[in-house]
């Protein structure tokens, strides 16, 4: 019995030796919700969006507080922030990473290295590119004066990908994967400030490896999503007998298949999309009450999508932007030996690739009404 007690007290001592390990109180740290990285005059200028928990109380919501600091490297800037703020920064809830265009054009991999490598920062952070002069303008948007700015941006991005599917939502680990792989190009959301100084989605930034080479408007980036098979839901606007769109189709499901065909050293890419949708809004004067009319509408829609996709690919080829659609990885999947041969100068060869698009729309219902609101005689 005495021996047992002695042994037990020895083991208990071990507990005290650990010295409370890494006990950190939650309110001793400041929670960083977003980061903006700029590069000026040889210094990384980092802006931190911190949740201001000290001045928040029962009745007030938590607001953002901004801290800017400079450093030779990003981590240096992080540590220098202590000069202004007495608490250590906690990155576990950092949800977005805004990168200015300048930094993106010289490569985002160095800027995002800290977030990827550090254990505390999550790799599900969303990197986004700022369409303004600086990244900090985006994160310090005025439109979010009563809430946390970064969460607002993040929520709008995730709502975008859930509801509209016009712009891809790419997390940091996905971005790293895309940068690292051969045949896929990175595309990140592009955010700008609108007239009310609120952050707003403005399209897409396209990359070659990790350097930004251009941007794409929202209309084009919607088409881009079709090609990349990332459309989950959203709207498709069709113009019937008019210049402007007058039919709104709500998309339930879309699947895109990309089939490369290599014949005698010529590469042809076949893009096939199949979209299931419903007639959601009819602004035209056509009554869709017969199956033929439905078929006609489906054909019109298919034609327009094929046209959009084709146009986009041709534009990209013309601007020498290289293969941003990721056709290379499809070729790798189907013709691995040929890919090994051509991957060296794939981006140059991309100009001469023929693209065949075939779309099919299936309109399955038209909500509650067979045709449109009847206008009396």
């Amino acid at each position: 019995m005495k021996k047992r007690l002695f042994l037990f007290s020895l083991i208990l001592q071990l507990l005290f030796l650990s010295g409370c390990w890494d006990y950190k109180e939650l309110d001793d740290e400041s929670i960083v919700t977003g980061m903006a990285i700029d590069y000026m005059d040889g210094y990384y200028h980092v802006t931190f969006d911190i949740a201001d928990t000290q001045s928040a109380g029962k009745d007030k919501t938590t607001k953002s507080k901004f801290i800017e600091s400079d450093g030779k490297t990003v981590f240096d800037a992080v540590r220098n922030a202590i000069n202004q703020y007495d608490r250590r920064l906690y990155f576990g809830d950092c949800s977005i990473l805004v990168i200015s265009k300048t930094v993106a054009e010289s490569g985002i991999a160095p800027a995002t290295d800290l977030m990827t490598r550090d254990a505390e920062a999550r790799i599900t952070t969303l990197p986004i590119i700022s369409d303004q002069e600086t990244a900090k303008a985006i994160i310090m948007q005025q439109g979010a004066s009563n809430e946390i700015s970064s969460y607002k941006i993040k929520n709008s991005l995730s709502a975008e990908s859930r509801i509209l599917s016009r712009v891809p939502m790419v997390t940091l680990y996905q971005a790293n994967g895309m940068i690292a792989s051969d045949g896929v190009s990175l595309a990140l959301p592009l955010i700008t400030l609108n007239e009310q100084q609120c952050a707003q989605l403005n399209g897409m930034a396209i990359f070659h490896k990790d350097k930004m080479i251009g941007t794409m408007r929202i209309e084009d980036s919607s088409t881009f999503m079709y090609i990349k098979n990332k459309v989950k839901t959203g709207l498709f606007l069709v113009s019937v007998n008019s210049e402007n769109p007058n039919i709104t189709l709500e998309i339930y499901q879309n699947s895109t298949k990309i089939t490369p065909v290599i014949e005698q050293d010529r590469v042809t890419i076949k893009i096939e999309t199949e979209t299931t949708c419903a007639l959601a809004e009819n602004l035209s004067d056509v009554y869709y009450d017969t199956p033929e009319k439905w078929a006609e509408l489906a054909n019109t829609a298919s034609g327009q999508l094929e046209h959009s996709i084709g146009e986009l690919v041709r534009d990209v080829q013309k601007n020498n932007e290289g293969d941003i659609f990721g056709f290379g990885s499809e070729i790798n999947a189907k013709y691995p030996d040929d890919w090994d041969r051509i991957k060296g100068d794939w981006d140059a060869r991309f100009k001469d690739v023929t693209v065949e698009v075939h779309s099919q729309f299936k309109i399955i219902n038209s909500a509650l009404d067979k045709s449109r609101v009847k206008v009396g005689e």
């Binding site: 507990l15 390990w21 950190k24 939650l26 309110d27 929670i31 000290q54 809830d93 505390e120």
Partner: protein, 494 residues
């Protein structure tokens, strides 16, 4: 040093002298000197303790016949005649053992000394007042009988016997305590109880050497397995229907005079979560209740520890909104999280304990004071944070659900909190591992303590986490009894 066994003499006045010396300074000992009306040579003296006898019984059934019997001539054995023919008592014993005489007199019997006989008679005249039968406070049920044991051994035994009307119900009497001479009874069903367990129990009971066993817990601590563990390996109950149920499962019950609690052994861990009205209410409802109790046990011991571990060590495990709200709640609180937790838990335990012992009038005010004033005011004074109040209240309330295990729950709660404060979730994991190793190593009278707490045999689990309908429970727990088949139906309700 062996004492010479005091012998009774056959002279009445010497016996009277002996009794007076033995009970010197005891003012409640009375004696009644009787001379028969017809034969004045028939002289006897009755000794009894005032307050412990039934006066009417003694007067009418013992004194009256002795006074009025028309003795004619001297019979061969006067004492035998008095015992067999004259007195109207349903329980007469002849003895010359002075120890037995003393024991009987102090228990409420009357002893009769006859002039000319060196043998005394002991009559059963017990008439002390016992508490009336009421529902036990600690084991209340929604449905079911509301009888509870009281402090008289024989009454408790009858309550059980009424439920098991078989001659297989064995009751073996024993006495414990050299000064208290408390009577105890081992009770079991002869054709169901495991004879090896019975053997072991008797062996352990023989080792008890104590001068007074005032409560059955004294015996409990002597005979239980794992005496240093804070889990019970012998169950206690105050309800006769539970005892009857356990006897039918092949367990053994131990009654002690003066205690309304009865020991049942062997006792398994899962029995902590079984309540009596599980069997008297609908099986869905009782299954939910049982699962709720098991859940409450695990939650009650680990919630404060997990909270401290998450908030102080593993911030990355918290969802963002929770991180923000806890951070807001904890800003400018004086105490670190572990200290907050310990203080609040202590406060809760103090309130609970005080509420238990305070008289009713103060107890009401105390609960209001405790809840509103201390909790609320402390939060507003920024001594503790609001989430901590919730955590502690939750942990405390789920702990109270299992009153039988309250000792172990309190200790385990503090132990896990202590471990978590040092090394976060690792502490909790190691604590859990240690606890499980300890639990699985324990045995209760040879039966593994955690038997049927894990799902290995379907039959054994019909009564553990859920309560299966009666038509399903066709077997008794394997380990304990001799006869495994409980009922004849084979899982068919029809």
């Amino acid at each position: 040093m062996e004492q010479e066994k005091t012998k009774l003499s056959d002279r009445l006045d010497e016996n009277i002298e002996l009794m007076k010396i033995l009970f010197h300074n005891d003012g409640t000992l009375r004696y009644r000197y009787i001379e028969n009306r017809y034969r004045p040579l028939v002289k006897c003296c009755l000794f009894y303790i005032d307050g412990m006898i039934d006066n009417k019984l003694m007067n009418e059934d013992i004194i009256r016949p002795l006074l009025l019997y028309p003795f004619e001539r001297k019979p061969a054995s006067m004492i035998d005649d008095i015992a067999n023919k004259i007195t109207f008592s349903n329980n007469v014993e002849k003895t010359d053992d002075i120890e037995e005489i003393i024991r009987s007199v102090v228990y409420g019997d009357t002893v009769l000394f006859l002039d000319g006989s060196d043998v005394a008679l002991i009559f059963n005249t017990k008439g002390w007042i016992t508490r009336s039968i009421s529902e036990p406070e600690g084991e209340k049920v929604l449905r079911g009988p509301r009888e509870g044991f009281n402090e008289a051994l024989l009454i408790n035994l009858t309550m059980v016997r009424r439920r098991l009307r078989t001659q297989e119900l064995k009751m073996e009497f024993q006495t414990f305590g050299t000064r208290s001479q408390t009577r105890a009874c081992i009770c079991y069903l002869g054709n169901l109880a495991n004879p090896q367990i019975l053997e072991e129990l008797k062996k352990r009971l023989e080792t008890i050497q104590i001068d007074g066993t005032l409560d059955v817990n004294y015996i409990n601590e002597y005979i239980k397995d794992a005496p240093y563990s804070f889990f019970k390996t012998i169950g206690t109950t105050e309800r006769p229907d539970i005892v009857a149920g356990k006897l039918l499962e092949g367990r053994i019950a131990l009654f002690l005079d003066g205690t309304p609690e009865v020991l049942t052994l062997p006792f398994l861990f899962i029995e902590n979560f079984q309540s009596d009205d599980d069997y008297y209410t609908n099986y869905y409802f009782s299954s939910i209740g049982r699962l709720l109790r098991i859940f409450s046990f695990s939650v009650s011991i680990s919630v404060p520890a997990i909270y401290v571990a998450l908030v102080a060590f593993h911030h990355e495990l918290l969802p963002t909104d929770l991180t923000l709200s806890i951070s807001v709640a904890r800003s400018s609180i004086a105490a670190p999280t572990w200290l907050e937790a310990i203080l609040m838990l202590l406060m809760f335990e103090i309130l609970r304990e005080t509420g238990l012992r305070a008289p009713n009038s103060i107890g009401q005010a105390l609960s209001i004071v405790g809840a509103l004033v201390i909790g609320q005011a402390a939060v507003e004074a920024r001594l503790i944070s609001a989430p901590m109040v919730i955590i502690v209240a939750f942990s405390g309330i789920t702990g109270i659900m299992l009153m039988r295990m309250k000792g172990s729950i309190i200790i385990l709660r503090f132990m896990f909190l202590f471990l978590a404060s040092f090394i976060g979730i690792y502490g909790i994991i190691f604590g859990m591992m240690g606890l499980l190793i300890h639990l699985f190593n324990m045995r209760s009278f040879g039966i593994p303590f955690m038997n049927s707490s894990v799902a290995d045999d379907f039959q054994d689990n019909k009564d553990t986490f859920v309560r299966a309908p009666w038509w399903y429970m066709i077997k008794r727990p394997k380990f304990m009894s001799q006869d495994p088949v409980r009922s004849a139906s084979d899982g068919d309700p029809g």
